[in-house]
């Protein structure tokens, strides 16, 4: 290992296990095509360079990474055979999925697949590199999440080690939802799972994804990426519920692109992690494209959940509608910084964003910063943010109807989330979240 150079010493400890030697060792363990190795190398160069440059202030100034920088995580290992791969999931048993793929520390575990229509691909991304190389090569970090965006995208692009590919060919409609679990088990391990969804023209699918930690104790790092490519007239419903343990650091670039008349319904659930920062972009690329972005978070303990969202309208007659709802208790913190951007050619667009928070404790804190950047003149863009508390009079009222204080709180909190669930007709997700609400309301009591 090369040590002692001036730059390296100034690099925070958390990155030191991911420098050149470690990267070469990581590559050597993998048997991948040249184009992919080349891309990884270019990404690694970006990553290395980014370590000497500050992070984008607007995105990071409200967040504190000092503790993170002192931690140490080990790079992913090629194959962790002999692993326990049964992750405790929130969704697995709630319905019959069309197919299911699970990963533990980046290694694909057992997958349950029913008969999928011809041409549909739903498999671990590492397998897809071998079996469906063209699809991966065309779409992996070429359009939605670009490796050189920042330190975390480059880090991910260099070291990605697991995750799924969902590809639905032209005109194929999948009725049953698909399921993906990203699990983490090893202490102090880093995971770089990638989710790539490609829907061709007129295709339709639902993918429910969740993250989970096998043990409640071990600290872990997740530097992930999600790419959702929705073709012409295609319809994708994607849900990701983040439920890591409270010692996991989660960073993710997540981007969706929607072509003409396509529609993306995207729901982000935030329940766990010590610290989670999601850089989420949805881009409406073709006339008549639409996106609905929903966020539901329940922050407890000392965790920080941060969302940096952008809705970009690149074409005329596009529509985006973002609704984030967060409940905070204990000393938790949620940060939402949202932006609607309308390009000059995107006339007759309709952009909306709203972020509501419900504070259950005086020590919790919500920052909501909406923003608009509009360069077209014939548009309708609105935004709003509210921060409220559970009203004692509401609790009292419920209690005079025979509800215990806890039950009343549960009802009020569920009611707070209801406007999001009214928009997502996926009952499994609603039920899973409701169970989480019950559990989270009980924490610390």
């Amino acid at each position: 290992m090369s040590t002692g150079s001036a730059t390296e010493i100034s690099i925070p400890p958390v990155y030191r296990a991911f420098l050149r030697d470690a990267f070469e060792a990581f590559l050597a363990e993998r048997d991948e095509p040249d184009w992919l190795i080349d891309r990884r190398r270019r990404a690694f160069d970006c990553f290395e360079q980014s370590l000497t440059q500050p992070l984008e202030p607007e995105e990071w100034k409200r967040l504190d990474l000092r503790l993170f920088h002192t931690l140490r995580f080990t790079p992913p290992v090629r194959d962790r055979s002999g692993l326990v791969t049964q992750v405790d999931t929130m969704l697995a048993t709630r319905t019959e999925f069309g197919a299911s793929v699970s990963h533990t520390d980046g290694t694909a575990g057992p997958s349950g697949t029913r008969e999928l229509p011809a041409g549909v691909v739903f498999c671990p991304l590492t397998e897809a590199v071998r079996v469906h190389e063209d699809i991966v090569r065309e779409h992996l970090m070429t359009r939605a999440v670009l490796p050189d965006t920042d330190r975390f995208s480059a880090w991910h692009a260099a070291f990605w080690n697991g995750g799924v590919l969902l590809y639905v060919p032209r005109g194929v409609v999948l009725d049953r939802p698909l399921h993906s679990v990203l699990g983490s088990s090893a202490a102090d391990a880093a995971d770089f799972a990638h989710t790539l969804v490609v829907l061709d023209e007129g295709a339709s699918a639902t993918l429910l994804e969740e993250t989970a930690s096998l043990n409640a104790e071990g600290s872990a790092l997740h530097v992930g990426a999600v790419e959702l490519l929705v073709g012409r007239g295609a319809h994708l419903r994607y849900v990701q519920i983040q439920n890591w343990n409270e010692r996991t650091w989660h960073f993710a670039h997540q981007a969706g692109r929607v072509e003409q008349d396509g529609f993306l319904q995207w729901t982000v659930g935030g329940l766990g992690a010590r610290f989670a920062h999601i850089h989420q972009t949805v881009s409406l690329d073709g006339r008549g494209a639409g996106a609905e972005v929903n966020g539901v978070s329940f922050a407890t303990g000392r965790r920080t959940l941060s969302y940096y969202t952008q809705q970009t309208h690149c074409a005329a007659s596009t529509r985006s509608d973002l609704l984030y709802k967060s409940v905070l208790r204990d000393r938790s913190r949620v940060v939402w910084r949202g932006m609607i951007r309308v390009e000059p050619e995107a006339q007759q667009t309709d952009g909306y964003q709203r972020c509501d928070a419900l504070l259950l404790s005086p020590e919790s804190r919500m920052d909501a910063i909406p923003g608009l950047e509009i360069e077209a003149d014939d548009v309708r863009c609105t935004h709003g943010a509210t921060v409220g508390r559970v009203d004692d009079e509401q609790l009292f009222y419920c209690m005079t109807r025979g509800l215990t204080q806890h039950e009343a709180m549960h009802l009020i909190v569920s009611g707070f989330f209801q406007s999001v669930f009214d928009r997502i007709p996926v009952t499994e997700v609603r039920e899973a979240f409701d169970d989480a609400v019950v559990q989270k309301l009980g924490l610390g009591d």
Partner: protein, 272 residues
């Protein structure tokens, strides 16, 4: 056995200020009582104190339900023992559907030992009953799936209180100005609704300024409150007199307490 709600020498303070100064009142199941009195005399304070609002502190006296002192019980426990308040200003609970809210309430009231998460009353049975009472009270069935009081008119909120009264069927119901702020049509619906509900197994305390609710539900006892005390108790004729002549004659008959009322009003005005 018929139940009795007995209020003994009740003193209640809000934010350290004494509002009720020794109220005595006994209500038996099957009786209808009216509580009248000028604004600010303490009627709502009595209602809130009875159902256990945490801000209304009982500093002296007792509230006995069949001999059991309720003063140390929380509102949920009192509700499960059979007390109900129809609020003057019902709250809104966004995102919580009327049917879900009521199903939880009904399950708890009918099974007072129920713990959170335990089985709710069967959906079929509940729906049937809910539909029945909504029809009786002239409510559109769509109310069942609306969010509780969210976007409801004043009249709709009051009807919702009566619907809850019907579904929960308490031993003792307190109605705090359920008839105020309503048009005459809504008052009629609410009054008729109450008449259908109140019977030998319900004791009712009606707080009102108007006579209409009482016409449909004639009280056996009428109490007048002044400056935190019940100063007179009579029959329906007293309610009638109050409507004809207002509270001046009452104040004249109780000059000491009327003076206290004036002094308090002056103090409050001075403080503002």
């Amino acid at each position: 056995m018929s139940s009795t709600l007995r209020i003994e020498n009740l003193h209640v303070a809000v934010d350290g200020k004494e509002i009720l100064k020794g109220v005595d009142l006994t209500i038996r199941q099957g009786e209808v009582h009216a509580l009248m009195g000028p604004n600010g005399s303490g009627k709502s304070t009595l209602a809130y104190a009875l159902v256990g609002h945490p801000k209304y502190e009982v500093t002296e006296g007792r509230i006995l339900l069949d001999g059991e002192d309720l003063t140390s019980l929380d509102p949920c426990e009192r509700a499960r023992r059979g007390l109900f308040l129809a609020f003057q200003y019902p709250v809104t609970i966004p995102g919580v559907r009327v049917a879900d809210f009521l199903r939880h309430a009904v399950s708890n009231i009918r099974n007072p030992d129920r713990k959170e998460g335990e089985e709710l009353i069967p959906m079929r049975e509940f729906r049937k009953e809910l539909r029945h009472w909504m029809q009786e009270l002239g409510m559109d069935p769509s109310f069942a799936t609306r969010y509780l009081n969210d976007g409801f008119s004043g009249g709709e909120k009051k009807r919702m209180e009566i619907l809850q009264l019907a579904m929960l069927h308490p031993k003792f119901a307190i109605l705090d100005e359920t008839d105020s702020g309503l048009d005459s049509d809504a008052v009629r619906v609410v009054s008729e609704g109450l008449r259908k509900l109140a019977g030998p197994d319900m004791g009712v305390l009606i707080i009102t300024h108007h006579e209409r609710l009482l016409e449909m539900n004639p009280p056996q006892f009428v109490h007048v409150m002044l400056a935190g005390r019940i100063v007179e108790t009579g029959d329906a004729a007293l309610a009638h007199e109050l409507h004809e002549k207002g509270y001046e004659p009452v104040r004249q008959r109780h000059p000491d307490i009327a003076a206290e009322e004036t002094a308090e009003q002056a103090a409050t005005a001075g403080a503002e």
